[in-house]
C-alpha cells in the first residue's frame, strides 16, 4: 500500500494507521499548536488530538485512529 505524506510517496504495511505513514515519512512534527510549537502523537488512542493531520483535504483528522488507504494524501502542519 502506498500513501503520500507531504507529497512524498511512502510504502506502508497492511493495517497501518496514518500516524505510522507520517512516521515512516520521517516527519516528527504532526501539527503546530496554537502558539506554534511542533507536536506529535501522545496517547496513540484518539484521546489527545496531538496527532491531527489533513487527510485527502479533510483537516483535523486523528492520524492514530485512521487506517491508511492506498493512494491517500496526507499533509502535516509541522
Amino acid at each position: 500500500m502506498k500513501v503520500r505524506v507531504n507529497g512524498r510517496a511512502v510504502e506502508v504495511p497492511e493495517g497501518a494507521m496514518v500516524s505510522a505513514a507520517v512516521a515512516l515519512a520521517g516527519e516528527a512534527a504532526f501539527r503546530r499548536s496554537v502558539t506554534g510549537e511542533a507536536r506529535g502523537p501522545l496517547c496513540g488512542m484518539g484521546i489527545c488530538f496531538e496527532c491531527r493531520v489533513t487527510v485527502d483535504g479533510r483537516a483535523q483528522v486523528r492520524s492514530c485512529q485512521t487506517p491508511c488507504r492506498d493512494g491517500m494524501e496526507v499533509r502535516t502542519d509541522g
Binding site: A16, A28, V34, C43, G44, M45, T66
Partner: protein, 396 residues
C-alpha cells in the same frame, strides 16, 4: 435507527465480555468502538472473535440525545443507535504529568508509544526510555523490545520496596507474574526514578540525589491510568455502580477500567456480570461475584504500590505547558482556585481533548477535579449534531 437489546460502548476486555454474556442469553447486541477493530488497547491488532453480536468499529459515541439513544460519528457518516440496556466499557487513558519538555514530539505516552508501534510506527533500532509508573511500563518495554527497539531503561517512580511488595502480591495472579519475570532479566528497571525534563533526543532523569541525561529517540512516559468517565457522566451522572454493575440510571451499566483501575481479569468479570444483568439474567451475574471480589484485591495492591510521589507535583515550572490544546502554561493556572475560574480566564481544558489530558494532570498536581461533561463528549462535525434535532442530551 437500528435498535438493539443491549448496546456496549467499548470493545476492550470488559466490553467484549459483556457482549458475549448478553448475546449468550439471546439478546440482540451491538458493540461500538472508536478504534478500527475490536480488542481495546490490550488486544490491539489481535484477531477478536465475537459471534452473535454486531460490531460497529471506527465509530465514536459523541452524544446521548435521549434515554435509549446514542449518536455515533464515523470517518464519513453519522447515525443513531437505540438500546434497551447500555453497558459502558469505555476503559481508561494514561495519566500524563507535565514536566519541562513533555510536549516535544519525541515524547509519547508509554501505552501511547505501544499503540503507535502496534499500528505500524517504525521502532526497529530506536533507543527508547520508558518512564512513569505502573505495571504497564513493563508490558510496554517488553512489547517495544520484541518489535526491535533498544529499551535503554524503565524508570519507575515508585520506591523499590513498594514494587517488591507488589511483585510478591502478584503470586495471587500467576499470569501477571510470568510477564514480570520474563521482562526483568532483559531490561534495566530502576525504581525510585523519574523524568525531570525532556530535551530534543534526550531525557533527564533523577534517582536519589543523582540527576543524569539519557539519549533517546523516544521517551515513552505515562503515570498510571485514568478512567474514561465522560460518557458515563453524560448518560448516568458518573460511573459509580451497584453490585450488578448498574449505574444510578436503570438499564445503564458500567464495567471495567471506567469504574476504577483494576486490570484485565477484573475488567473481564465485571463485563460478564454487566452483560448478564443487562440481558435480564441477574442470577447468572450473581454467580460471578466471588471471582470479582478476588480480582478486586489486585486493584487495591496496584493502587497502593504505585502511588505517585509528591516530588512529581513540582516537576512543572511556571513555564511548563499544561493544556496542550490551548497552550496554557503552569504559571497562568497557579492564581486560580479551581477549574471553573481557570477555564474562564485561560481556556485551559477547553480545547479539542476537552481536558482529557490536562484533567488527569491537574487532578494530581493541584487537586482539581473535572466533574461536569457537556455534549458532544468528543468534538463532532456539525452534520453529526444535526441528526439529533431535539438536542444532545446530558441536561441533568
Amino acid at each position: 435507527m437500528d435498535e438493539f437489546g443491549v448496546v456496549v460502548a467499548g470493545a476492550g476486555p470488559a466490553g467484549l465480555a459483556a457482549a458475549r454474556a448478553a448475546a449468550e442469553c439471546g439478546a440482540a447486541v451491538a458493540v461500538v468502538d472508536d478504534n478500527p477493530a475490536p480488542g481495546g488497547q490490550i488486544w490491539r491488532g489481535q484477531a477478536v472473535e465475537l459471534p452473535r453480536a454486531k460490531v460497529i468499529c471506527g465509530a465514536r459515541v459523541v452524544a446521548a440525545p435521549a434515554a435509549g439513544r446514542l449518536t455515533l460519528e464515523t470517518y464519513d457518516a453519522a447515525f443513531e443507535v437505540g438500546y434497551r440496556a447500555l453497558v459502558l466499557a469505555t476503559g481508561a487513558r494514561e495519566r500524563f504529568l507535565p514536566f519541562p519538555g513533555w510536549t516535544l514530539p519525541h515524547v509519547a505516552g508509554a501505552g501511547g508509544l505501544q499503540a503507535l508501534v502496534k499500528s505500524g510506527t517504525p521502532i526497529v533500532g530506536k533507543r527508547v526510555v520508558v518512564a512513569g509508573s505502573g505495571p504497564l511500563l513493563v508490558a510496554v518495554a517488553d512489547c517495544l523490545r520484541q518489535n526491535g527497539a533498544q529499551v535503554a531503561l524503565v524508570a519507575e517512580q515508585a520506591d523499590g520496596a513498594a514494587v517488591r511488595r507488589f511483585a510478591l502480591a502478584l503470586a495471587r495472579h500467576p499470569g501477571k507474574l510470568v510477564q514480570a519475570a520474563r521482562l526483568r532479566a532483559r531490561v534495566r528497571y530502576m525504581t525510585g526514578c523519574w523524568p525531570v525534563a525532556a530535551e530534543p533526543g534526550a531525557v533527564t532523569l533523577r534517582r536519589g540525589g543523582r540527576t543524569w541525561t539519557e539519549r533517546c529517540d523516544y521517551l515513552a512516559c505515562g503515570f498510571g491510568l485514568v478512567p474514561n468517565t465522560e460518557l458515563a457522566t453524560l448518560v448516568a451522572g458518573g460511573a459509580e455502580v451497584d453490585e450488578l454493575q448498574q449505574t444510578r440510571v436503570a438499564g445503564v451499566y458500567a464495567a471495567g477500567e471506567v469504574t476504577g483501575i483494576g486490570g484485565l481479569e477484573l475488567s473481564q468479570v465485571e463485563g460478564e456480570i454487566a452483560g448478564y444483568a443487562a440481558a435480564g439474567r441477574s442470577e447468572r451475574a450473581r454467580r460471578l461475584f466471588g471471582r470479582r471480589a478476588r480480582y478486586a484485591r489486585f486493584a487495591q495492591d496496584l493502587e497502593r504500590a504505585f502511588q505517585l510521589r509528591e516530588e512529581l507535583k513540582a516537576l512543572a515550572t511556571d513555564d511548563t505547558m499544561v493544556c496542550r490544546c490551548e497552550d496554557v502554561r503552569m504559571g497562568r493556572l497557579r492564581p486560580y482556585g479551581g477549574w471553573r475560574e481557570a477555564k474562564l480566564q485561560t481556556r485551559c481544558g477547553m480545547g479539542a481533548c476537552q481536558g482529557r489530558v490536562c484533567g488527569g494532570a491537574l487532578e494530581f498536581v493541584l487537586g482539581w477535579r473535572l466533574e461536569s461533561v457537556r455534549p458532544p463528549v468528543f468534538p463532532a462535525r456539525v452534520g453529526t449534531l444535526a441528526i439529533s434535532p431535539k438536542g444532545l442530551g446530558g441536561e441533568m
